[in-house]
């Protein structure tokens, strides 16, 4: 009976994993398929590329792959600018949300700033999808000359992820005993000095977790960038959606190749900070 339950559980986990990992598997294999293997037009579904190629990667970085005639009718494209744009806007947007949100969270957690309602009204900003108000924002941004600029995207990314930062960081600050900062103040620190030297180091794990979470949100945004930018500032997800050619129509392979590249930064980041991601932070200042 017990063995049966165990094997059932393993099966269930395997099934769930299949559902979640299939898109990743399909994207990665697609990135290495030549154009005639992208779709089953030849009557065969290619689970793995028959003739693995790097053509798709060459294509998105301006190359016209030699030997293949698949891209002959296509104008050369280059994803480098869009990746740089994505990096700039999502990193700076994350930093903006983190710096404002962390201070706000500390104020709410420690000094009950804004009374009972402030924290809640900040959370309320997440009760509807940001895209629901994107048209008014578009007008506002146009009026402020922020449409199709880096600054415009950085600002909106910072604003949209700010509530997440406040609520995540507030929960971390809540766990730092008040005496920690008081001890630093008695020892001669200013309020800010006590925050920087005694409280912030204790929540750095939480800060890293929050940063990664917000970065992924910004990095993977498609809709906001689609609406709030034109031809000048194109982020990688928007660029990805526009890869088409007259010869093949939707360029699944090239898109998959760019997709694989876009997965990398969040993955690298999470590996780099994974020791902080574990919530087992040393809030051991109090031994209860």
């Amino acid at each position: 009976m017990k063995a049966l339950l165990t094997s059932l559980r393993v099966l269930l986990i395997a099934a769930v994993l299949c559902v979640f990992l299939f898109p990743v598997y399909w994207t990665v294999t697609m990135a290495f398929k030549p154009a005639d293997e992208w779709t089953p037009t030849s009557g065969k579904t290619y689970w793995l590329p028959d003739h693995p190629t790097l053509d798709n990667f060459r294509r998105i970085f301006g190359g016209t792959p030699g030997g293949s005639d698949s891209f002959l009718v296509s104008t050369p494209i280059n994803a480098t600018d869009s990746i740089v744009t994505s990096l700039i806007t999502s990193i700076l947007g994350t930093l903006l949300a983190l710096s404002v949100g962390t201070f706000a969270a500390y104020g709410i957690s420690r000094y009950r700033a804004g009374g009972k309602m402030l924290g809640f009204s900040i959370l309320q900003l997440r009760m509807f999808p940001p895209i629901a108000v994107i048209i008014p924002v578009l007008f506002l941004w146009t009026y402020l000359h922020l449409f199709d600029t880096h600054a415009g995207l950085i600002l909106i990314y910072g604003a949209v992820t700010f509530p997440f930062v406040v609520w995540l960081m507030k929960s971390f600050f809540d766990e730092v005993p008040r005496e920690i900062s008081e001890a630093a103040i008695v020892d001669g620190c200013s309020q800010f000095g006590a925050f920087r030297k005694s409280v912030l180091p204790l929540v750095k794990g939480g800060l890293a977790t929050t940063a990664l979470f917000v970065f992924i949100l910004n990095w993977s945004d498609f809709l906001i960038a689609l609406v709030l930018s034109g031809n000048n500032v194109v982020t990688a997800p928007v660029f990805l959606s526009q890869i088409t050619s007259a010869a093949t129509g939707e360029e699944f392979g090239s898109r998959a190749a760019l997709g694989v590249i876009l997965i990398t930064p969040p993955m690298l980041l999470s590996i780099l900070i994974q020791k902080h991601l574990v919530r087992g932070l040393t809030f051991g200042a109090i031994k209860r």
């Binding site: 005496e179 008081e182 020892d187 180091p201 200042a285």
Partner: protein
């Protein structure tokens, strides 16, 4: 080293008076315990002394100078918190060195002073350890070291030993007392544990519901409680209370307790008190002697309900006409449960409290 004056200090949170019209003068170099049940305002008083809270009204003076507006860091105080407030992201050394680093002292001086303090506390071999690897006991020593490194004139300790195990607590009490004598600092110690206060402090300030009840030496608060609250709060076995009526007509004060089989008790002359018409007699368990129930000297009679054997002494619980009384007796005295006994009260040790105000008749 500093003398502290607290003048008419009140701290209000919303409509709640955490501390009300507190007047207290602490001499330079004394070891004072702030004693009271939780919520009595002792921690609030402490936070006002440290500067973490500003009084709503009144003045706090250190060495004659008002410090109300002075920042905590400029008050020359050391503060040890109940939960240590150790910076767990730093080593023991960095924790102790913290105050000196904030004051930007040269690194070699810091190292020397940290080692000196650590030697005094017996934690020199732990300085390089991460604080997360230290035991609770050692953490508290690090916390004490951190607050004494700046050589504060006033040392504030907020229930510092309440998280320690019993044996280490009594050891630390002795250590702290020794330390205070060596540094001859003014030390204020907050506690709700009256044994801790009695055993360490030179003077005890007892607070209840935001107000000072009595300020005196351990001997004074134990033997001459100013009111019924102090009488009931101090002492490891609670004082016995029985209602009584007073008769001053014959010059001496005669107490008549409205209990079955009670005899009037004549105590030496006391006056004072107020116009209250109901009174309570209080006597500590060790000032009662068990005698034969028929004895002439027995003012009260009762039946034994329980015997607590504590080793060096026994505590006999008695019921006298529905009132619970406790009597401390030598370990050899072991009355049976249900036995009828007489109680001889030491007339010199009897306290009388006016019910309306709670104050003791002088």
């Amino acid at each position: 080293m500093a003398e502290i004056q607290i003048k008419q200090v009140t701290k209000t949170f919303g409509r709640f008076d955490a501390v009300l019209d507190l007047d207290l003068e602490l001499e330079d170099g004394t070891f004072v315990a702030l004693l009271g049940p939780s919520g009595c305002g002792k921690s609030t008083t402490m936070n006002m002394l440290s500067g973490l809270l500003e009084p709503t009204r009144g003045e706090i003076l250190f060495d004659g100078a008002v410090v109300n507006k002075l920042k905590p860091g400029d008050r020359n105080i050391g503060f040890v918190f109940q939960n240590y407030a150790i910076f767990t992201h730093m080593s023991a050394f960095d924790n102790i060195a913290f105050g000196l680093r904030v004051r930007k002292q040269p690194a070699d001086e810091i190292r020397e002073e940290v080692h000196q303090v650590a030697r005094l506390l017996g934690i020199e071999n732990m300085l390089d350890r991460r604080t997360t690897d230290l035991s609770v006991n050692d953490l508290q020593k690090v916390a004490i070291g951190r607050s004494m490194i700046t050589k504060p004139g006033i040392f504030l300790l907020d229930e510092p030993f309440s998280n320690l195990d019993a044996r280490f607590r009594s050891y630390m009490r002795a250590e702290l007392k020794k330390l205070q004598r060596e540094l001859s600092q003014t030390m204020i110690y907050v506690t709700h544990d009256q044994v801790e206060a009695m055993s360490m402090a030179e003077k005890i300030a007892i607070m209840d519901r935001g107000q000072l009840q009595q300020y005196g030496t351990p001997d004074e608060v134990y033997n001459q409680p100013a009111n019924r609250f102090v009488a009931g709060f101090v002492g490891s076995t609670m004082m016995n209370f029985v209602p009584t009526t007073l008769d001053r007509s014959g010059g001496d004060l005669v107490l008549t307790m409205p209990l079955a089989d009670a005899r009037p008790l004549t105590v030496h002359n006391r006056d004072g008190g107020d116009d209250s018409d109901s009174f309570t007699m209080g006597i500590r368990s060790e000032h009662i002697e068990l005698v034969d129930p028929g004895s002439e000297t027995a003012s009260l009679r009762g039946t034994v309900t329980l015997l607590e054997s504590l080793g060096p002494r026994n505590i006999v619980h008695l019921s006298s006409d529905g009132y619970l009384l406790r009597v401390t007796v030598p370990p050899t005295v072991r009355p049976r449960v249900g036995e009828a006994v007489g109680l001889e009260l030491d007339a010199r040790r009897v306290h009388v409290f006016a019910d309306a105000s709670g104050t003791a008749l002088a």
